[in-house]
Subunit: 262 residues, 4 copies
Amino acid sequence: MHRFRSMLYRQLAPEGWNQPGLSPSNLCISLLIIVAAFIAIIETEITVQSLYPPAFIWLEYLFVIIFSAEYLARLYAAGEDPRYAGISGRVRYLFSLWAIIDLIAILPFFLGFLTTSNVFMLRLLRIARLLRLARLGRFSRAWSALAEALSARVYELLLSVGLAALLLLFSSACLYAVEASNQPEAFGSVPRALWWSIATLTTVGYGDVTPITSWGKLFAGITAVAGIGIIAMPTGILAAAFSDAFQKNHSTTNKSDMTSTD
Amino acid sequence: MHRFRSMLYRQLAPEGWNQPGLSPSNLCISLLIIVAAFIAIIETEITVQSLYPPAFIWLEYLFVIIFSAEYLARLYAAGEDPRYAGISGRVRYLFSLWAIIDLIAILPFFLGFLTTSNVFMLRLLRIARLLRLARLGRFSRAWSALAEALSARVYELLLSVGLAALLLLFSSACLYAVEASNQPEAFGSVPRALWWSIATLTTVGYGDVTPITSWGKLFAGITAVAGIGIIAMPTGILAAAFSDAFQKNHSTTNKSDMTSTD
Amino acid sequence: MHRFRSMLYRQLAPEGWNQPGLSPSNLCISLLIIVAAFIAIIETEITVQSLYPPAFIWLEYLFVIIFSAEYLARLYAAGEDPRYAGISGRVRYLFSLWAIIDLIAILPFFLGFLTTSNVFMLRLLRIARLLRLARLGRFSRAWSALAEALSARVYELLLSVGLAALLLLFSSACLYAVEASNQPEAFGSVPRALWWSIATLTTVGYGDVTPITSWGKLFAGITAVAGIGIIAMPTGILAAAFSDAFQKNHSTTNKSDMTSTD
Amino acid sequence: MHRFRSMLYRQLAPEGWNQPGLSPSNLCISLLIIVAAFIAIIETEITVQSLYPPAFIWLEYLFVIIFSAEYLARLYAAGEDPRYAGISGRVRYLFSLWAIIDLIAILPFFLGFLTTSNVFMLRLLRIARLLRLARLGRFSRAWSALAEALSARVYELLLSVGLAALLLLFSSACLYAVEASNQPEAFGSVPRALWWSIATLTTVGYGDVTPITSWGKLFAGITAVAGIGIIAMPTGILAAAFSDAFQKNHSTTNKSDMTSTD
């Protein structure tokens, strides 16, 4: 009996698998999650949905059965982990982050309110389960490099976000001041002008609202130019942070080289 | 009496607080500034304003009373600073940069012209007061890293700004030359064409004005491609400058390491 | 006879030419490929096509004759390469990647279905033949530097692509949730909302569909700001990777310098 | 007499001024060039032009007189430079790059065809004269750093330009293939589709033409995502190149430091 649990644990728990990559079971589950998410997405399109509606209901039944079985199997196999052994351990497991996410992915079905768009969001949450599996092998090094780079420069990044927020505020205040009387619908208040301001500073530029007065165009031009700084600053900080994080690995290697050549 | 002033000084002057972070008083004031700015912003929206107009007037009274009290308290506490001691010191304090900004944040109310959009801008200036408080602790290191990176490469950045300005001018001159006869409203003069040119070179691309002739599209395409250079160049310079600024700290640490290992 | 084949081999095979740059024959062929592609492109424009239709047919005859002759010459010259010597070697050559691409560039003409747009795509494939010739001399160093940088950080780049895909999905799900009832045509399903979402996250921002509800604008604003991260992250990773790849060359040079100064 | 010429040379020739910055005469001329360019720009705006038309004619007379006098003074002072001494030297000077640019700035006036837009372009060329003066002092170091970074990675940049051009071609060919029948005006040929393709790949995104078919939107989405690579790649290369160029200066300084500490 315990051999089965141990085998199950090795198959299901990402940290239980001692070979590179994912275990066959987790690979299957990953694929199923992607398929389920894909179906949840195209199901929203009425032209697809109307092709053969029962198919989508049956598929949803199928996914919920599989994911429920997987949930129970994980709960059972969690006993292998010393932290989650015994009854009290299992209860602790039930309230661990990943177990809750796993539950959210199947719960809505059992609560029976399958028609709202909230359900769609919860179904999409299944994709979040991929994150647990993505923290593996080669990707785990990439994760930690990204995380290290971001955390090392978090204050510089927050600072540039703060400057961007100030810029956003002042540019929308300026546009509100000069355009409000001409375009009350689009620039009649600062929160309204913010919509234009975000679209401009991020260089998205929908063009659904644009200034028409000369002063408005002048401020808009300054905002657009400042938008380059808004992009250039965090990009530059990230580039330098990644460069740092990558070279740290090199330098540790080089140090050992130096020591060995001595 | 002086103990109270000393206590007040430690609470209000950012440089008087000898623990990391902000003092409790400054934290409260920071939050109040953010709340006041937020209310000033949503107050401009007529649908919010019309909910219960007196509320916004009362809130403005409240903020002005608090900020006035804070202003007087800062003036009193400034005596702890040797630079601002005595009567003449206080007068010097009144004309220091931050005291003037503090005054601007409350003055408009007392001058009684509370209806124009100028007042809104002055109210927004209160946010600038946050900058003083932001220069602290962990952010101060980030500030200096950003400032160092920018000042070390100021000529390279100015040069790329200059090249961008030239590009802007020539591209709007080209579009004016080929599109003026077809779209006199949008490209009838170089200053008018500048509006299109800025939107294109910064890759904002509103699309409210676009060239329609073949030559116009050709020049516009070249301008759009050049726009990538306009973004890539300062980003690259900033990235290299940040990389430099970050590594300088590392190298100084490494040097001391090397010395110690000797 | 073999001397002619050897001469042909040196002229046609990029690896057979022992001087820097391209051989005169390959230079001519490169120019012809570019001219043929240019003509294939402008031929699609009806106003150009209608000027003198027979010209384009004659030109196509000319290109097919030249490229067919080149194809046969390459097949003949391939015998110089030990891998492709003899009859069986020539058959192996016929199924090598570049020989197939060369064949695709001339085959459609002989199959006689010259009117569809598929033919146009195949004609455009001729440009792919330039890639073989571009892997030469100075560009080969640039190629390997780019390839090295990309392959060294492939997991970090894939990770940022994955995060971008998740962001894309969640932002279109959010917009679908709040805008579907107001704009069923543009946001009536997640796949439809994806179109808007891609245009926003890549900061392209066509503006053909934009949110109109307040919640939609709020989520759109967050998406637009996240779009900066989508651009900044891979740019930063690439910048750091290029920096690494470029410095590796320097450091190897420096090491030999150090050794020599010892 | 020669003392006057020597003084004139020091004032006018940028390389003749042995103090940092520009000589007083060149500073005045730089300002005049900027003013003349500014007037040439606003003069194109009919609402400004019509205020008092003679003013602009008089100003143009004034600028031509000053720049002509400057041209003759430069010609006279060029004798101080050994390369341009004597009559034959002066003739050589007349055909030097900068002398021709100086001439172009004044010539159109004397040729009497003052009404066309060509004249406007030539007047704008006066700005190019600023480039000569910008190569000075502190900016000269920034210039050489930028030039060094660009020239060191010219093949990598050309390669990414080449890849971008291929992408541009294939994306417009794809859109032409799927959208031509629906939108013949915008996608009826590859050159027409190029306009959309450039706007998308550079993330400008005017939105004047957008795909309407599902396949068109799919290819457009892929193009938009590829557009991020088009921006990220040259930015990354430039960032690494600038980093290299900046550190080369540091490393030379560090080397001498190391030597001195030995």
